[in-house]
């Protein structure tokens, strides 16, 4: 394998964005992938900051980001890199024909798969839940046999959120499914990608469409970008909104496909099933990463490395013995408040962050790992995404936002 300018380790949102921004800088990029990242699991929306430290809903993400605590990754990334990263992302997906709406100055609202509302920052056109606000009637579409989607519950919860002055109508579409297994949103989305499936669906819903209404569907509008969305909105003549969903997440997969397509156009080499196992260090620099292979590791040389291995959740950071947290590839310094009494907040949905979730690599404003005295450990190794310390993405709804902004900054450095 010939030498690259940049080796990105990690196949999630932070990894793919790191690779794209690096390639945009004219760099020769190799991406080492292991597993599919979180794309099949998350909704493929970009939450920047949904809730502040006290658990209060954030109305203006840009403002709230500038007020985060010093330990928070956003503080190190800075608002300028965040703003540029959002523009970069929106340009990439728009160029792939899959535009995302939203800005840092306001929240978008998603309707979840259980009918509650959730803030996000950048969402695909098909998931703009705010379209429900103005409607006089919400037509909720259920799918016969669909796993994990209870349309009556969605209707009941949504009425609590949006008020009873709207009309809520439930329609159940029969996909005439013959298979032996439970139906997933991905199965229904595949069916919608076929001409016959699309026509069948439209014929069962069309009678309920009309002015002043919104059609609310689970995440089923095809697997290929926004092709089905555009077609069905034009055909039904009223807004159509997708909810978030249980895995496999159709929109996460759409986003992944779109980004991989952009990667291919940029000539980025993706090595599949290549788990980064160890680094070759010379002095204060990394010169190579050894990865993959059932039998023998392949060596990937580069001038620069970006570690987007996903923290605890994806094995980028491990802790075999309590208190001994370890970044697995480069041995970068991990910081955590490893005191047993504080480690876990047993009130899962309370107004406090989880200590374990804030565990991550200690970095400086350049996103390079630093030791306790604040000195850079490896001068050409940068950290992106869930590996970073100081935030709890579940609590504050900032996962893909931190991933995007840190990827951008790390790649630009």
């Amino acid at each position: 394998m010939s030498k690259s300018d940049v080796v990105v380790i990690g196949n999630g949102f932070a990894g793919l964005m790191s690779a794209l921004v690096s390639a945009d800088q004219g760099k020769k990029v190799t991406l080492l992938s292991y597993g599919a990242g979180t794309f099949p699991l998350n909704s493929g929306v970009i939450d920047v900051l949904g809730y502040d430290d006290s658990g209060k809903a954030v109305a203006n993400p840009a403002q709230a980001v500038s007020a985060v605590a010093d330990e928070h990754p956003y503080k190190k990334i800075g608002t300028q890199a965040l703003e540029e990263s959002v523009k970069f992302f929106q340009d990439v997906v728009a160029a792939e024909g899959f535009p995302y709406v939203g800005s840092l100055n306001e929240q978008q609202w998603l309707v979840t798969g259980v009918g509650t509302l959730k803030p996000s920052c950048l969402v695909p056109e098909s998931m703009q839940g705010s379209k429900c606000f103005e409607a006089s009637e919400i037509v909720l579409v259920g799918i016969k046999g669909l796993k994990d989607y209870y349309v009556d519950m969605v209707a009941e919860n949504l009425a609590k959120e949006l008020g009873n002055d709207k009309k809520y109508t439930v329609v159940t579409v029969d996909p005439h499914y013959q298979g032996a297994r439970d139906l997933t949103t991905k199965d229904v989305a595949s069916w919608m990608d076929t001409e016959a499936g699309y026509a069948d669906f439209v014929s069962q819903v069309k009678g309920n469409a009309g002015a002043g209404k919104v059609i609310l569907v689970p995440q089923i509008l095809g697997l290929k970008g926004n092709v089905v969305y555009k077609k069905i909105v034009a055909e039904l003549g009223c807004p159509v909104v997708e909810t978030t969903a249980m895995p496999p997440s159709v929109n996460g997969l759409r986003l992944r496909d779109v980004l991989l397509s952009a990667l291919k156009k940029k000539g980025i080499t993706v090595i599949e099933n290549a788990k980064a196992e160890e680094a070759v260090i010379e002095g204060s620099k990394a010169v190579a990463v050894k990865a993959g292979g059932e039998v023998r590791l392949q060596t990937y040389n580069a001038d620069k490395f970006i570690v987007a291995t996903g923290g605890f959740y994806s094995g980028g950071i491990t802790m075999r013995d309590f208190g001994e947290a370890k970044e697995v590839v480069f041995g970068l310094p991990v910081e955590c408040d490893c005191v047993e009494e504080r480690w876990v907040n047993k009130q899962l949905f309370s107004d406090k962050k989880q200590t374990f979730a804030k565990t991550g690599v200690r970095v400086d404003a350049t996103l390079r790992g630093v030791n306790e005295s604040g000195n850079v450990v490896l001068e050409n190794v940068y950290v992106a995404g869930r590996n970073l310390s100081g935030y709890d993405f579940c609590f504050e709804h900032s996962g893909n936002g931190v991933a995007l902004a840190s990827a951008y900054k790390a790649a630009k450095a």
């Binding site: 394998m1 599919a36 099949p40 699991l41 297994r181 290549a274 039998v295 392949q298």
Partner: protein, 406 residues
């Protein structure tokens, strides 16, 4: 000696995240398949008390390994499926069909035909007549397909006729695998040419048996184990003499490098694996050491490459494409996922529709590419591509051998 870490224990690393179901080509094509995580890992963990209690859709897994490639937690999902399948057939040997028996034991048929005068010619004529009369379907073989014909001379015979240059000091042992040996021996001939040009003498060892991949997917695990023990002993014998073992078939190399150890967890298998290389993996190592014969291709004939899933699972990228690009070949990867054949899977009559559905994305890309040939390391992928597209196919080692000739 039994290894401490066994593939079947990796089921406990499954967090049921559904990533494997999201990418499984069979799940996408066939709504009867419950998906990888619900077949191998879940079943393995449930430890059903009743031996006959097995998931029906277990037989639908093609062992293509896309679940393993997608798993974020290193679970050997496909191998768990195969272990569960083997348990099922152990409890229900009567469930094995004639097609299972035939497609898993092609090596026996090949050996038998070789021992009969004109056996292969007759068998090929027999296949043509059988296909024309629609008899394949009755045997459980997809009647739409043309079965690969037996070469009039197998590679093991052709090899004896090849005059390798005198004085080559370095040696490699070739593991031809069944398809190259009996169906497509020209790939082996090209391999010998390439290795000779790089200063290596190619050895053969007639004690090698089929790698066992078709036996594993057919549920004949005990037989596969005996093949593994046989092959591993030979590989280790050559390892002691510092002679590497090289395969041109990526399913064979995956079996020798990874699956033996995953399935049977024996120390000597892990040891043998270290001495096994895919052909282009080996050539790339030579190139990195500056020892690969230099050549430049000036033709701008366009090729399209299909990466076999069993190569992708090996976690080393696409060494054949990288190397061919490096010498100037106009080649691009189709990146269209699984071809749907997965060894013998697509030859089963009941899998034909699923197999062709899975392959459709690849077929479309090939048809739209305007490439004059499809390059692919796997023999049965090439069969599927020929069937689904009418495109001409070749093994990358043949492209390189041709470049050396010019």
């Amino acid at each position: 000696m039994e290894l401490e870490e066994r593939a079947r224990d990796s089921a406990d690393n499954c967090i049921a995240c559904t990533s494997c179901i999201a990418v499984c080509p069979v799940t996408k094509a066939n709504p009867d398949y419950r998906g990888p995580k619900l077949v191998g890992p879940a079943h393995n963990r449930m430890h059903f008390s009743d031996e006959s209690d097995y998931e029906d859709s277990l037989k639908l897994c093609s062992n293509c390994k896309n679940c393993d490639i997608t798993c974020p937690n290193g679970v050997s999902v496909a191998t768990l499926n195969m272990l569960e399948r083997a348990k099922y057939y152990k409890a229900h040997p009567e469930k094995h069909t004639q097609a299972d028996q035939m497609l898993s034991h092609n090596f026996q048929m090949a050996d038998m035909l070789k021992s009969i005068p004109f056996g292969r010619t007759c068998a090929n004529i027999g296949m043509s007549i059988g296909e024309a009369m629609g008899m394949m379907g009755a045997m459980g073989i997809a009647p739409q397909r043309k079965s690969p014909r037996f070469a009039t001379k197998y590679f093991r015979e052709l090899y004896k006729e090849i005059k390798q240059p005198e004085g080559l000091t370095k040696e490699v042992l070739f593991f031809p695998g069944c398809f190259i040996d009996v169906n497509d021996p020209e790939v082996g001939v090209a391999f010998v040419k390439v290795m000779n040009a790089n200063g290596y003498k190619v050895l053969m060892d007639d004690r090698f048996k089929c790698c066992g991949s078709p036996l594993v997917v057919g549920g004949y695990l005990d037989e596969a184990r005996s093949h593994a023990d046989n092959n591993v002993a030979i590989i280790n014998e050559y390892a002691a003499k510092n002679i590497p073992v090289i395969a041109c078939c990526t399913s064979c190399s995956l079996m020798l490098k990874a699956e033996y150890t995953e399935l049977f967890a024996q120390e000597e298998m892990a040891q043998a694996a270290k001495n096994v290389y895919d052909a282009f993996e080996f050539l790339t190592i030579l190139a990195e050491k500056g020892e690969l014969k230099k050549v430049h291709v000036s033709s701008d004939k366009k090729f399209i490459y299909h990466a076999p899933c069993h190569l992708r699972a090996q976690g080393m990228g696409m060494p054949a494409v990288d190397l061919l690009k490096e010498i100037g070949v106009n080649i691009d990867s189709a990146d269209a996922g699984c071809c749907g054949m997965s060894g013998s899977y697509g030859f089963h009559k009941e899998n034909y529709e699923t197999s062709m559905k899975i392959g459709s994305e690849l077929f479309d890309k090939i048809n739209a590419s305007g490439a004059h040939k499809v390059v692919c390391d796997c023999g049965t992928c090439r069969e599927q591509i020929k069937h689904g597209t009418n495109a001409k196919t070749t093994h990358p080692i043949q492209v390189l051998a041709k470049a050396y000739e010019q």
